[in-house]
């Protein structure tokens, strides 16, 4: 599904990604771990199409189609979804109308009519219940005055609404207490299926107890330096990142 080959990316001439290789197949969950500044969030933004980053070398493709020339909205239309580490506050746009606009613009891009209002309402009700989101919350301005946990829950609500092919969760666990973490993980797990894939970017192993990955990759200085099964996450939790760094140096 997603194929990343020898990806080098920079922002304002500062090299951040230094030759990433990653293959994600339908049905898989990949965890990307690594210390601060290793390039995890950059990788997520580059896949989603943020224009601040320049791809210097290598390529990213989704189902065989090169993504480099595609705008962020075109990538979204193809089924890529990024759950933001820091969701942006947009005063004046309600959560409901935002998600309606997002869904109908994506439908339009696929040549479909707007989703009928009653169907939209039903979907919103169903997904907000799944994430235990209060109805009042949906009429508030997008992310404005939301707590850290509310923002993350709102991201996963959007993901549940949009049913992406490839979801990238960037530090979705940060700012969540244990109950919220369980709710969010439950929402993510409901989306897991044989046709879609998830990339979980996290600093800690905690989230991976709830969203169990098939593969764990360790990112260090813009490169994947180690990959392994889910047990690798436990080892990282226990030993920290230093042993990887040392191993890399050796």
């Amino acid at each position: 599904m997603l194929e990343i080959k020898d990806l080098h990316a920079s922002v304002e001439d500062k090299k951040i990604l230094n030759g990433i290789n990653l293959q994600v197949n339908p049905g898989e969950v990949h965890a990307i771990m690594g210390p601060n500044g290793s390039g995890k969030s950059t990788l997520a933004s580059v896949i989603a199409g943020k224009e601040d980053f320049e791809i210097k070398k290598g390529n990213i493709s989704l189902d065989g189609e090169d993504l480099e020339e595609l705008s962020p909205e075109e990538r979204a239309h193809k089924g890529i979804f990024l759950s933001f580490q820091y969701p942006v506050e947009i005063p004046g746009v309600s959560v409901t109308n935002f998600i309606k606009t997002a869904i109908n613009e994506s439908r339009k891009a696929r040549g479909l009519e707007d989703m009928p209002a009653n169907q939209m309402l039903k979907l919103i009700r169903e997904k907000s219940e799944l994430l235990e989101i209060d109805r009042k919350f949906l009429s508030r301005s997008l992310n404005e005055g939301f707590s850290g946990g509310e923002k993350k829950r709102n991201e996963i609500f959007q993901m549940a609404m949009m049913e992406p092919k490839l979801a990238i969760l960037d530090e979705t666990d940060s700012g969540l207490d244990i109950d919220a973490l369980r709710i969010v993980a439950n929402g993510v797990n409901k989306l897991r299926g044989k046709d879609n894939a998830i990339i979980v970017i996290t600093h800690y192993q905690r989230l991976l107890e709830y969203i169990v990955p098939d593969f764990v990759h360790v990112l260090h200085e813009g490169k994947i330096v180690k990959s392994g099964p889910k047990e690798l996450a436990l080892k990282l939790e226990e030993k920290g990142y230093d042993w990887i760094k040392q191993e890399t140096v050796v």
Binding site: A48, G49, K50, E51, D52, S71, P72, E73, R75, A76, H77, F81, L82, F84, P87, V88, I90, P91, G92, V93, S94, N97, F98, I99, T101, A102, I103, E105, S106, A109, Q158, M162
Partner: protein, 439 residues
């Protein structure tokens, strides 16, 4: 060619042949033309006109006297009305009243013409009490309008009354003249506990040059409510100087919304005088400009009595080579204790060549007041744009959505839903997106 000032001064003699020289109003006109003769047009040397030049307008050979009414069919101008609700309509075509396009009334309230109010004895008392009582007697363009005051909208709402429906004032210019100068004069009086909603629009129908110098006086007596909406979306050869003066008494509420989306040059002088206690004044505006359009908002709120409030909120979005000005003056007299005066002016610049000059001007002589003001100038937030686009909303629509959101707290206080829908549609057209954002 004579310059515009000289042309106006010499035209005054001809104008006098068309009005009743024995009416007391004519003394007011004669005083006013003297003032204009001394002052002339404002120049950029004056602080209040630093960023708005009328020089180019003064070089145009404007016709001062409109010709007879031109034949316009309702279907051709329907789009300039809010036509999906029932309203009273006072319509002028090239400055001449069009009875065909209008719907006036004397049923409990008077919704009619200044020319009638000046000539008919039954209106004499109202004219004596209110005409030219709040309009400036030394601001040059206002006195110019006063000198030529003859036609416009006359709206009188007696005590405890409310018209059955909103009132629209529409000024149409047909382009019958190569260049036309218009000077409408409106008088609006809401007596004690009266209520009225008014929508005003100036619209040129061709590319011929139009210069409108308009004066509106609004009086809100005790407990009166006045909602006034100005829709400015004119052709790019039309210029407007709008001078609006509002006098408020105890407990009255007056709200003026100004929507500026078009025209070549627009200057809004909006002046509120609070002559009572517990008064509420609201001034809100949305300005969205492109090309080389220019809009200048000069507001004044004079708090002269204790326990009053004023709320100002102006949002501006400037693209291409457009320019904007916001100058918000608030005066709080020494006796006006417990005043709450708020002022916000937020702007987004979409291009390197667009500009805005914004200036709050506070003169506070009382010590127990709450006054706040803030102005911001920024660009659209790239991170927010990326966030919206990453959810599948295309760049153009995402930009429009952010602009709607930016302007929304001004739009949400529009109390006529059909007008709000129309404003939304104008904004959507202006931004080139489909309608459908309900925020």
């Amino acid at each position: 060619m004579m310059d515009l000032k000289d042309k106006l001064l010499s035209s005054f003699l001809a104008f006098e042949n068309t009005v009743d020289l024995d009416h007391p109003v004519h003394e007011v006109r004669s005083e006013a033309i003297k003032n204009f003769e001394i002052k002339g047009f404002p120049s950029k040397k004056e602080e209040a006109w630093k960023y708005t030049s009328l020089n180019n307008l003064q070089k145009v050979d404007f016709s001062i006297f409109p010709k007879r009414e031109s034949a316009l069919e309702y279907k051709d101008v329907k789009k300039y009305f809010i036509h999906d609700i029932d309203t009273y309509k006072i319509v002028f075509v090239d400055g001449v009243y069009s009875s065909y396009l209008s719907e006036t009334t004397h049923d409990g309230v008077d919704v009619c013409l200044m020319s009638s109010a000046f000539s008919k004895p039954m209106f004499r008392q109202v004219i004596d009490v209110y005409f030219n009582k709040v309009a400036s007697k030394d601001e040059s363009l206002t006195t110019l309008n006063t000198a030529f005051s003859k036609e416009g909208a006359y709206i009188y709402i007696p005590k405890n009354k409310m018209p059955k429906k909103p009132i629209q004032i529409l000024h149409l210019a047909t382009g019958n003249e190569a260049a036309l100068m218009l000077q409408p004069r409106n008088l609006i009086v809401a007596e004690e506990n009266a209520e009225v909603q008014i929508i005003e629009r100036h619209q040129s129908l061709t590319e011929n040059e139009v210069f409108t110098n308009s004066v509106t006086e609004i009086f809100a007596a005790k407990d009166a409510h006045v909602d006034y909406y100005k829709v400015q979306n004119d052709a790019d050869t039309a210029s407007l100087v709008d001078n609006t003066y509002i006098s408020q008494k105890n407990n009255s509420v007056v709200k003026v919304h100004t929507f500026s989306f078009g025209g070549k040059l627009t200057r809004n002088n909006l002046n509120f005088y609070q002559n009572g206690e517990r008064i509420d004044s609201t001034l809100k505006g949305v300005t969205i400009l492109g090309e080389k359009q220019h809009v200048d908002h000069h507001t004044l709120v004079h708090h002269a009595q204790p326990n009053c409030e004023s709320h100002q909120d102006y949002k501006g979005i400037f693209g291409e080579k457009s320019t904007g000005v916001f100058n918000g003056k608030i005066i709080v007299d020494k006796i006006a204790q417990k005043t709450n005066a708020f002022q916000q002016n937020n702007n987004i610049l979409l291009s390197d060549k667009a500009s805005i000059n914004t200036k709050p001007q506070l003169e506070i002589f009382a010590d127990d007041v709450k006054c706040s003001h803030g102005c911001t100038i920024g660009q659209l937030d790239d991170d927010a744009l990326f966030y919206l686009r990453s959810r599948g909303i295309p760049k153009k629509e995402a930009t429009a959505l952010m602009m709607y959101a930016f302007a929304n707290n001004v739009l949400e206080s529009v109390r006529i839903p059909e007008l709000k829908a129309r404003i939304n549609k104008i904004i959507a057209n202006k931004l080139g997106v489909r309608v459908g954002f309900e925020l």
